[in-house]
């Protein structure tokens, strides 16, 4: 390629014994949206963090506009025209959009803060690139999609010529994704370059001019949009497989279109496993975040809850797991009314919960795998002998679980806090399944997991449903929800905003309902 905007050559980055980047090359042209495609743990974000000056590479060089660039910090990167939008935004909640964008740049005069010029500039940028934002709005009042635009404007305001977007579509509705992609095209038409970090093949195909596929810290290939298709990319990214449910997995991973998957991975029975009636749940501040929620789950059925984060998912999950008290309404599991019972009783009656925040809610980081597997059943007769916990037997079960769930650890005495995210999730699943659950609540079960662990989670879900367990899958990953679920329910402001059967899901309709624009909402 002639005169590329960015060239990264032979970038190596190691963290202790782990090689995160193994001599990776990347070339991004001018006027190009370049997709950086790969599963979690493939090294995409690490590579871009090197470019943005957050990590120092062990080897390799970076050229911007043909000149060797020495980028030691994000400040250097910004000065060199590189902007990056991370998955989590660093914004001052009670500042306005303009204030957030200007923060950290040079503003005229130490005493007087005149933001009218800045505001005009922001207005101009947002019109030019279709990034609709009110410069005077206070950031905390804005939805995620708009806050992301603020973050992009921040980079543009600082004169970015190369913009890196790290998984920008997480938490966006399909409509917002379309808008974002429109803005990205406007940027490259204006002479910029954009790097889109994503694990979703569909996204790269719809917006990128070229893409680089990464796997296990290596570049697998770089290819023109015109020369490739979803199947080819999926094979490069995931590796080919003929396992049962491969199509579902691929769809859930965002490799192929989830709506077109006919295969289902559950085995829906006829008996009602869980009945939720008129459920009201309040958050820690006492606000009703779940209002009049109804749900019926049959044995072996997977029901997916789609929604933008913060619409009551946490409260719903915790209420159905028996962790958060029900304000009103009822929850029946296998015909038994569970309202008002202690959390341990819910566990005892077959409710298993895989929480969203694994580190905060799921594990004892300073305890061993054995101890973590005992957590929750420390009073059950299987664990105790003559009134005391039988650690010998518990250790043996831990050894078995480590083998069965392919946990990568040195042994049952390994501290769970030392494990990687995927392995922590395996320990949590091993614990949940050891109790033969009747209802399994999964909240963002594959977030941050590499492809192997994500697939493993799906396999376990399949196993659970085959054993008649009802599964409630609450996820912000719409592809995952649509591909896995027998029924998809959209959650908006604590209520149902629509329901679809597997095979007749329209992602845009779900997206509309998730944002309160659906017809199904009265």
């Amino acid at each position: 390629m002639e005169n590329p905007r960015l060239e990264m050559r032979g970038i190596v980055k190691t963290f202790g014994p782990v090689t995160a980047l193994d001599a990776v090359d990347l070339v991004v042209g001018r006027n190009e949206v370049h997709g950086l495609l790969g599963g979690n743990g493939a090294g995409k974000t690490t590579l871009m963090n090197v470019l943005y000056g957050l990590y120092r590479p062990n080897a390799g060089e970076v050229l911007l506009d043909g000149q060797p660039a020495s980028i030691g910090s994000p400040k250097d990167a910004i000065a060199a025209g590189v902007g990056m939008v991370h998955q989590t935004f660093l914004q001052v909640d009670n500042y306005t959009v303009t204030e957030n964008i200007v923060l950290g740049t040079d503003v005229p005069g130490p005493l007087r803060l005149d933001l009218s010029d800045a505001k005009a500039r922001i207005r101009e940028l947002s019109e030019r690139f279709g990034l609709t934002v009110d410069p005077d709005a206070v950031v905390e009042d804005l939805p995620v999609g708009v806050r992301q635009r603020v973050e992009i404007l921040k980079a543009l305001y600082r004169g970015a010529k190369l913009l890196i977007l790290d998984e920008p579509t997480t938490n966006l509705t399909p409509q917002e994704v379309d808008d974002l992609f429109g803005s990205m095209r406007a940027m490259v038409d204006d002479g910029m370059s954009v790097v889109l970090i994503t694990h979703k093949i569909r996204e790269t195909l719809s917006v990128c001019d070229r893409m680089t596929v990464m796997r296990d810290g290596r570049r697998v290939e770089t290819i023109e949009r015109a020369d490739t298709d979803a199947e080819h990319l999926a094979e490069k990214m995931v590796g080919s497989t003929t396992d049962p449910g491969a199509a579902v997995d691929a769809a859930a991973l965002g490799a192929v279109d989830a709506e077109k998957v006919e295969e289902i991975l559950s085995s829906v029975g006829t008996t009602t496993a869980v009945a939720v009636r008129d459920l009201v749940v309040v958050n820690d501040q006492g606000h009703e975040l779940i209002q009049g929620f109804e749900l019926e789950l049959r044995e072996g059925e997977i029901v997916g809850i789609a929604g933008v984060a913060g619409n009551g998912q946490v409260e719903l999950a915790e209420a159905l797991a028996g962790v958060r008290p029900l304000r009103s309404g009822s929850v029946e599991v296998s015909g038994r009314s569970m309202g008002g019972l202690a959390t341990s009783t819910w566990l005892h009656h077959g409710v298993a919960y895989v929480p969203e925040d694994r580190h905060r809610d799921g594990i004892l980081p300073t305890a061993s795998i054995t101890e973590n597997l005992v957590l929750g059943s420390q009073r059950s007769p299987q664990v105790r002998r003559r009134g005391l916990i039988d650690w010998g037997a518990a250790k043996q079960r831990a050894v078995d679980a480590i083998a069965e769930f392919s946990v990568r650890a040195n042994g049952p005495a390994t501290l769970v806090g030392d494990l990687s995210g995927g392995n922590i999730q395996r320990v949590i699943l091993a614990r949940a399944f050891a109790r033969q659950p009747r209802m399994l609540i999964l909240h963002n079960p594959t977030r941050g997991l590499d492809i192997g662990s994500t697939r493993f989670v799906y396999q376990q879900v399949r196993k659970a449903t085959a054993a008649g367990c009802a599964v409630l899958l609450i996820s912000e990953d719409l592809d995952e929800v649509i591909a896995l679920s027998d029924r998809v329910i959209a959650l908006y402001q604590g209520s149902r905003a629509g329901e679809w059967q597997h095979g007749s899901v329209d992602a845009y309709a779900v997206g509309r309902s998730m944002t309160g624009l659906g017809e199904a909402r009265v």
């Binding site: 995160a20 202690a342 959390t343 341990s344 919960y353 004892l364 916990i389 042994g411 995210g421 590499d450």
Partner: protein, 365 residues
């Protein structure tokens, strides 16, 4: 979330085979022990510099600090007698800490426990030992438990911070024993607020002669085993450790955390109360003002040094008892004030806490 947080497991090496485990375990053990040794050495070096700076001989001072406990039978017995309340107050701090709660009230609980013990020891002084001694010890433990129970109740019912309530209860306990020692059962001839002696049957029998070791030491050894088994093997002990490791996760998995935290405080208070009763029945034969000595602060130091390990507590407490007993003879032989020992103890703790940071840095490469 950064990709690096979920570094590819495939890139990491697989689980090492059997023989690989052993050197690993040795390395882990070294990581555990070395900071203690380094901290103690550094504390003595810094302490030595201070002693030299005030114009005394640090070597003479340290020799008497470190050898007094072992040179004479008297020193050994005194060390063991010191070990008992220091260790029990360390448990009183460490057991609630296992559930994430800070009990700063061990001295109050010790004094109230002593009050409970001394009350029965005086009121029922005619009872034979087989009846009276157990009554005194149980009364001590129960009184300590009730005293800590006040803080536990305020904490679980009204979310009153346990640090504040346990500290404040200490001050109330000072007034309480002052009242008991000067109005209820005062010993006018003592020249110092103290109660009259307890009955013969309330005294812990001694072992050996001149001076005898009281059997409270054996009782404490027994208690060490009971507590270790309790924390390690019982469901409640496991739950307490779970709450201390991650409160949220414990809740999510059905553990009633606030009830457990309250129970931890009460158990801690009972242990401190028992220490008070043992002091009455084994050392003083009565209750006197000031008997709490500096056991609270020593217990906290020991509890913090153990870093959550119930097994380490007895050994660390013994080391502290050695220093404490040596302090007096250091003052006599080397003219270094006894407070120097407290400085060294504090330095050990300080270096130990710093070692956590150093270790994290070294291990990250």
């Amino acid at each position: 979330m950064s990709d690096t947080l979920t570094a590819p497991p495939s890139a990491a090496s697989g689980p090492p085979a059997g023989p690989g485990q052993r050197p690993r375990r040795v390395v882990e053990a070294l990581w555990l022990v070395v900071p203690y040794i380094v901290s103690v050495v550094l504390a003595f070096v810094v302490g030595g510099l201070i002693i030299a700076a005030i114009g005394r001989d640090p070597f003479a001072a340290f020799e008497s600090v470190l050898t007094t406990s072992f040179n004479t039978r008297f020193g050994t017995i005194e060390t063991l007698h010191k070990w008992v309340p220091v260790l029990l107050c360390a448990y009183a701090f460490a057991i609630p800490l296992a559930t994430g709660k800070f009990n700063i009230g061990a001295e109050g609980q010790l004094l109230v426990g002593a009050t409970g013990g001394v009350a029965l020891g005086i009121l029922w002084s005619d009872l034979p030992m087989v009846l009276l001694l157990p009554c005194v010890l149980v009364a001590g433990a129960l009184s300590g438990a009730v005293w800590a129970g006040i803080a536990a109740f305020l904490m679980t019912k009204f979310q009153v911070n346990e640090i504040l309530s346990t500290v404040v209860l200490n001050f109330i306990s000072f007034q309480l024993i002052d009242y008991v020692a000067s109005h209820v059962w005062p010993d006018r001839g003592a020249g110092h607020p103290a109660t009259t002696p307890v009955g013969e049957g309330a005294l812990l029998p001694g072992i050996g002669q001149a001076p005898p070791m009281h059997t409270g030491v054996l009782l404490t050894v027994f208690l060490v085993i009971v507590i270790a088994v309790f924390m390690r093997r019982t469901s409640t002990g496991f739950e307490m450790r779970a709450v201390g490791a991650n409160l949220r996760a414990a809740q999510v998995h059905g553990i009633r955390t606030s009830r457990l935290a309250g129970a931890g405080l009460v158990v801690g208070g009972a242990v401190a109360g028992l220490a008070g009763a043992i002091e009455v029945a084994g050392v003083h034969g009565k209750m006197l003002e000031g008997m709490q000595s500096n056991f609270l602060i020593l217990g906290i130091i020991v509890g913090l040094m153990a870093r959550g390990s119930m097994l380490a507590l007895p050994f660390i407490a013994f080391g502290i008892a050695v220093l404490e007993v040596g302090a007096g003879s250091m003052q006599r032989t080397a003219q270094v004030p006894v407070e120097m020992v407290l400085i060294i103890e504090a330095l050990i703790l300080l270096f130990l806490l710093l070692s956590d940071i150093a270790r994290a840095k070294i291990r990250r490469h």
